[in-house]
């Protein structure tokens, strides 16, 4: 097999730090991870060694590639929404090992839980895996984008923590705020 030249390795494998915001923006607070990535992109200078991606509902494709790759980031941060019985908007670090064990067979991209691959990355590849989680409010049963007030408030606070931990301490926050909801904002009248 040819060597794994750097030029064929996608950025999300190659850069030393990978930050993935995950969730579905169509379902209320489930979009926390995506909103946080957008906040970081629009309010902070992202260092060159950091790959910051809104992975949305496609995170498993990226994690799958990471699991199989010979080139991986040293540090991986997953930002996601969870429901673990805390107060809505409360954000905290979660050890992947503490995510409930639910399934060990991984043979459908639509069914395998992300948690399995995170554990595999952490335990079998040496990548430092951390999870920043935010407690959601009740999630809508039907498509309904937009964060609840408590989770919306958590976005800038959590973003500052990420910048402090992963952006080399710079954490510069120029005033470049804009409408985070973009295409998912209310339709124009």
């Amino acid at each position: 097999m040819p060597a794994m030249e750097e030029d064929v390795v996608p950025d999300f494998c190659r850069k030393p730090v990978l930050i993935l915001g995950i969730g579905n923006v169509f379902f209320g607070d489930d979009g926390f991870g995506c909103a946080l990535v957008e906040y970081l992109e629009t309010h902070f200078e992202v260092p060159g060694g950091v790959c910051l991606q809104d992975a949305g509902t496609g995170v498993r494709l990226l994690l799958f590639t990471l699991c199989l790759s010979q080139v991986r980031p040293r540090r991986l941060l997953i930002v996601d929404a969870v429901d673990v019985g805390r107060e809505p908007g409360e954000w905290f670090e979660l050890d992947p090992a503490d995510i409930p064990v639910v399934k060990l067979d991984d043979f459908s991209m639509h069914q395998l839980p992300t948690s399995n691959m995170l554990r595999e990355l952490q335990q079998q590849t040496g990548v430092e895996v951390r999870v920043l989680a935010c407690q959601t409010g009740p999630l809508p049963a039907e498509v309904c984008p937009g964060l609840s007030e408590p989770v919306e408030r958590a976005v800038p606070e959590a973003a500052r923590w990420v910048a402090r931990e992963y952006f080399g301490g710079a954490g510069t926050e120029p005033d470049r705020s804009r409408d985070r909801k973009g295409a998912f904002a209310e339709p124009r009248a």
Binding site: M1, M4, D7, V8, P10, D11, F12, C13, I22, G23, N24, V25, F26, F27, Q53, D54, A55, G56, T57, G58, V59, R60, L61, L62, L68, S69, Q70, I78, D80, A81, V82, D83, V84, I99, V102, K103, L104, D105, D106, F107, S108, M109, H110, Q111, L112, P113, T114, S115, N116, M117, E120, Q124, A133, A141, E142, V143, C144, A183, P187, R188
Partner: protein
């Protein structure tokens, strides 16, 4: 006393599919039902939005095949605006489609359904994970990983990113391809073709022969098929006309925007997902070999096309038809057909990259809002994907209908699970291996069951509940 076995692969908040197997009083399978919960309320959410937002909103429906939604939406927008993208715009879209297909088909064959073959359906769950596959077939896995890297890299070069793409726009493609980028992509496409050639040779030599008995018996049903072909009948995955084939091989061809004349959508009270059926061949029926029953996805496309216009894939198609006829009906042949498509996409990517049009700077045309209806269709890896939009004079959406690939296969999946369960569960006896094999019949269709909310903790995976005839839970198993 009759029993009901429920296999519930629920890993996300909205749930996915619940497989219910109802036994009769003798412990044999009475019926099986696969109940899918789909994304609800999406169409309503889109009403009143600018139609040009659809190519960037719809990829969020599914994180597994976002390119298919992206391209179907862009094509529907072209139709709404009444424009035809310039050759470079259309070819760049098709190139992205072929690369996304390669990434997807490699993944599915080697690490999803392929793992059923590599590790066997009875393998312990502790080794049935991604890294377990690497351990089981390390040499093959390493080769595969490199090409998967390249596919992701190719999409980054063409479109900026592979997840939630935004490069296709109404009227064409947003970014021309530079000549040096084309040269870089061409080298990668060559390597992808080598892997595609290796994959089908490897499968024919080392995988399929071992499982030929399973292929011939598991989940077998008889149905018609749907897929896209060019005007001359050649396989195409990006554009053409729809072909709906009956189980006897006769077919109707029609343009996308006339799909409602040929495809009906039936509703069953026990399922959230619609059941499309061939309208001109009788009413909906959930019976094997019903005239209105049809399937989508790889095997369907390989069946409906008259030929493949790339030489290596055509040679494989000819061999496939010599072995299995046309239309081939064995459900597990979806895997074989997937590898023929992998080869076709690798050859097609090279053909497109060698086309002088691909580096033209003319990649899009201007669009102007108008009141219109537009239907866009692509072949998603999991089946024919239809986006049907209507707009007002300002270009705002007033109506929409989506038929996703898995929906076409809703009835066939139910029939295959019933067939698999009947052949594997006798006298009330079953074990984990048997139930994994029932799931294997579903995986052949590579269904997209859960384009809904994602959550880290994933809830539960496969849960088996046994109920008595009165509905009381008498046993519960989970892995």
């Amino acid at each position: 006393m009759g029993k009901t076995i429920v296999i519930q692969p629920v890993t996300r908040i909205e749930g996915h599919a619940k497989i219910t197997i109802q036994l009769d009083d003798t412990g044999n399978v009475n019926l099986a039902r696969v109940n899918v919960i789909e994304l609800r309320g999406f169409e309503r959410f889109c009403m009143g939005r600018p139609v040009e937002d659809m190519p960037r909103i719809t990829p969020r429906i599914c994180g597994v095949c976002p390119w298919s939604h992206h391209l179907a939406a862009a094509k529907a927008c072209d139709a709404v605006f009444g424009v035809t993208p310039p050759p470079a715009g259309a070819k760049l879209r098709e190139l992205c489609n072929s690369i996304a297909y390669m990434e997807e088909h490699i993944l599915h064959f080697y690490f999803l359904a392929g793992a059923d073959f590599l590790l066997g359906p009875d393998a312990d769950y502790s080794v049935r994970n991604v890294i377990g596959v690497l351990g089981a077939a390390p040499e093959v896995a390493r080769r595969v990983v490199r090409v998967r890297h390249m596919c992701a890299k190719m999409l980054e070069i063409l479109a900026g990113k592979s997840i939630h793409p935004q490069a296709a726009v109404p009227g064409g493609f947003s970014k021309p391809l530079a000549k040096d980028e084309r040269d870089e992509l061409r080298k990668m496409a060559d390597e992808a073709l080598e892997l595609a050639k290796f994959s089908i040779a490897f499968a024919k030599e080392s995988v399929f022969p071992k499982y030929l008995d399973v292929v011939k018996s598991l989940g077998v049903i008889t149905s018609g098929f749907i897929g896209t072909v060019k005007e001359n009948g050649a396989l195409n995955l990006y554009d053409g006309k729809l072909r709906l084939m009956a189980s006897d091989g006769s077919f109707d061809d029609f343009p996308y925007d006339r799909y409602t004349e040929f495809i009906g959508e039936h509703i069953e009270p026990w399922s959230y997902l619609k059941f499309p059926y061939a309208k001109k061949r009788g009413g909906f029926s959930l019976e094997d070999n019903a005239p209105s029953l049809y399937r989508a996805n790889t095997l369907a496309r390989i069946n409906v096309c008259d030929f493949i216009d790339t030489p290596l894939a055509q040679a494989e198609l000819e061999e496939f038809r010599r072995k299995f006829g046309r239309p081939a009906q064995l459900t597990l042949l979806y895997h074989w057909a997937r590898l023929i498509e992998l080869l076709y996409n690798a050859e097609n990517a090279i053909r497109l990259l060698d086309d002088p049009d691909i580096t033209s700077l003319e990649t899009r045309v201007k669009v102007t809002p108008r009141a219109a209806r537009g239907v866009g269709c692509t072949e998603a890896p999991r089946g024919t994907l239809i986006h049907d939009y209507e707009t007002d004079a300002d270009g705002m959406l007033t109506n929409m209908n989506l038929i996703v690939g898995t929906t076409h296969n809703n009835a066939p999946i139910n029939l295959s699970v019933t067939q698999a369960a009947k052949s594997l569960i006798h006298d009330g006896k079953y074990d984990q291996g048997v139930l994994n094999t029932v799931e294997m019949a579903i995986r052949a269709y590579d269904p997209c069951l859960s384009c809904a909310t994602h959550r880290l903790d994933g809830k539960m995976s496969v849960k088996l509940d046994i109920f008595d005839a009165q509905g009381s839970l008498i046993d519960s198993l989970a892995n």
